[in-house]
């Protein structure tokens, strides 16, 4: 069995940052990701980030991803791609299957789980037809595989993912027929919504998709108005001729590994559902396990990167790679950036939800 000081599971924004921070502190890091390419959501974010200068405002996610990868090479971090983590035994034995062919068990003194989130389902008649897919799936197809999943698209959900992917579908040459939002008000940040609106895409609030129609593939979609109890109002149906329906109904933290390993769960509706209890230093109820990014609560790539730094920092320090004084300084720098990110209307709710989780870890 191989030994490594720190195994980071997931090479998205959180995992990459955690691996870099830990490696910079001198820890021996193995970074594992089940995809062919690292970067997770980063390489799908071709829009410009915004926020303070520290958060690389005005830089596209994809460029941040490339930058982090360069640093990972320089720090000689061992990166295993096409490597699926199938289980964690005794809180420190990581069972990894490489290239879908051979199994390896790595004994890790610390494990950082940065496995991200998975898309929520919306069930409507015909939702299993080919052509109905998660917005993330469409984004992956366009930005990574460079194929258009369809020509005429209905987007369900006007949150950030919904409007960003709608814009990216337009950029890739697809025709977005409509964005449907069940709530009375639109969800995403104004800057993204405005871009899609300018492109002439109609938004339908208090609307939902009632049915997808088609024989072997989506051929049309029926949408309709809903009342405040989300019940469809008869007579308001509109049939749209589309061949693709994207679902952007929020994300849920991908917590299977954390809970199977034994991390204590806590329910946080604002951050996407059940998450592992963790303290401000991103450590879970199991002393050798840390979390970072959407697994610890669904937020954004920028907060994921900061949480990754925090987890990498704390894990390295717990192995004696950083003295307390240096740790205190770096800890506060990351904490301030996180506070800045979790500001404003949306940010405040997320900050309170995080504090709720952290308070559970002291209990």
């Amino acid at each position: 069995m191989m030994d490594r000081e720190i195994v980071v599971i997931g090479a998205g924004p959180a995992g990459l940052s955690a691996a870099l921070e830990a490696a910079r502190a001198g820890a021996e890091v193995l970074l594992v990701d089940e995809n062919h390419k690292p970067g997770g959501q980063l390489f799908k974010q071709i829009h410009k980030f915004f926020g303070s200068k520290d958060h690389q405002a005005g830089v596209r996610g994809i460029d941040i991803g490339v930058q982090l990868l360069e640093e990972a090479k320089e720090l000689k971090i061992d990166v295993w791609l096409n490597a699926e983590v199938c289980g964690i035994f005794n809180q420190n034995e990581v069972w990894i299957v490489r290239d879908k062919e051979r199994s390896v068990t790595v004994r890790a003194e610390r494990i950082i789980l940065a496995t991200g989130a998975t898309e929520n389902a919306v069930n409507f008649p015909g939702w299993t037809l080919p052509g109905v897919m998660g917005a993330g799936a469409a984004q992956t197809m366009i930005n990574i595989h460079r194929v258009l999943p369809g020509q005429k698209v209905l987007m369900i959900g006007s949150g950030n993912v919904g409007v960003i992917v709608s814009y990216q579908l337009l950029q890739a040459g697809a025709d977005v027929k409509a964005v449907v939002e069940a709530a009375p008000r639109l969800g995403g940040y104004g800057v993204h919504t405005a871009k899609v609106r300018r492109a002439g895409v109609p938004f339908y609030t208090s609307h939902t998709v009632l049915e997808a129609r088609g024989k072997d593939h989506v051929e049309s979609a029926v949408i309709g108005r809903i009342d405040e109890r989300w019940k469809p109002i008869p007579g308001t149906e509109i049939e749209l001729e589309v061949d693709t329906i994207c679902i952007a109904a929020g994300l849920t933290p991908l917590v299977e590994l954390a809970f199977a390993a034994g991390c204590r769960p806590v329910f946080s509706p604002v951050l996407g559902g059940m998450v592992p209890v963790h303290d401000a230093a991103m450590r879970t109820s199991l002393p050798s396990l840390y979390v970072a990014g959407d697994i610890s609560g669904v937020e954004e790539a920028s907060t994921a990167m900061e949480e990754g730094r925090m987890a990498g920092l704390s894990a390295a320090r717990s192995l004696g790679h950083i003295d307390d004084a240096t740790y205190r300084i770096r800890y506060e720098a990351v904490e301030n950036r996180l506070l800045a990110l979790r500001s404003g209307l949306f940010g405040q709710k997320r900050r309170d939800a995080k504090e709720q989780i952290v308070s559970q870890s002291q209990g």
């Binding site: 080919p130 799936a137 197809m141 366009i142 595989h145 460079r146 194929v147 999943p149």
Partner: protein, 108 residues
Amino acid sequence: MNRIFEHPILGPLEDTELVRIFVDGEPVEARKGEVIAAALIATGKQYFRKTIKLQEPRGIYCGIGRCTDCVMTVNGVPNVRTCVTEVEEGMVIETQLGYGKWGRGINS
């Protein structure tokens, strides 16, 4: 053809080596290193499999290897997730009906 040849941000689609795969017996040119699902979407394939109970069509849903809705029979082995499996030269890909059948003609 659903390939994005020109993209305002990602730029032009660079040419790569082509790989020949067989989809339900038909030869298809795929791009080396791309996943099976992308190659099939590029050809406009309507559905990847028919379900076991009601024989209903299924295709891509999560796109990142978690929901297992895009599985097909590849080189005689059923239930291969096409959205996370890269194409290889000479790969034999079949639309999967129900739980599929063993390629080596063993379908007792």
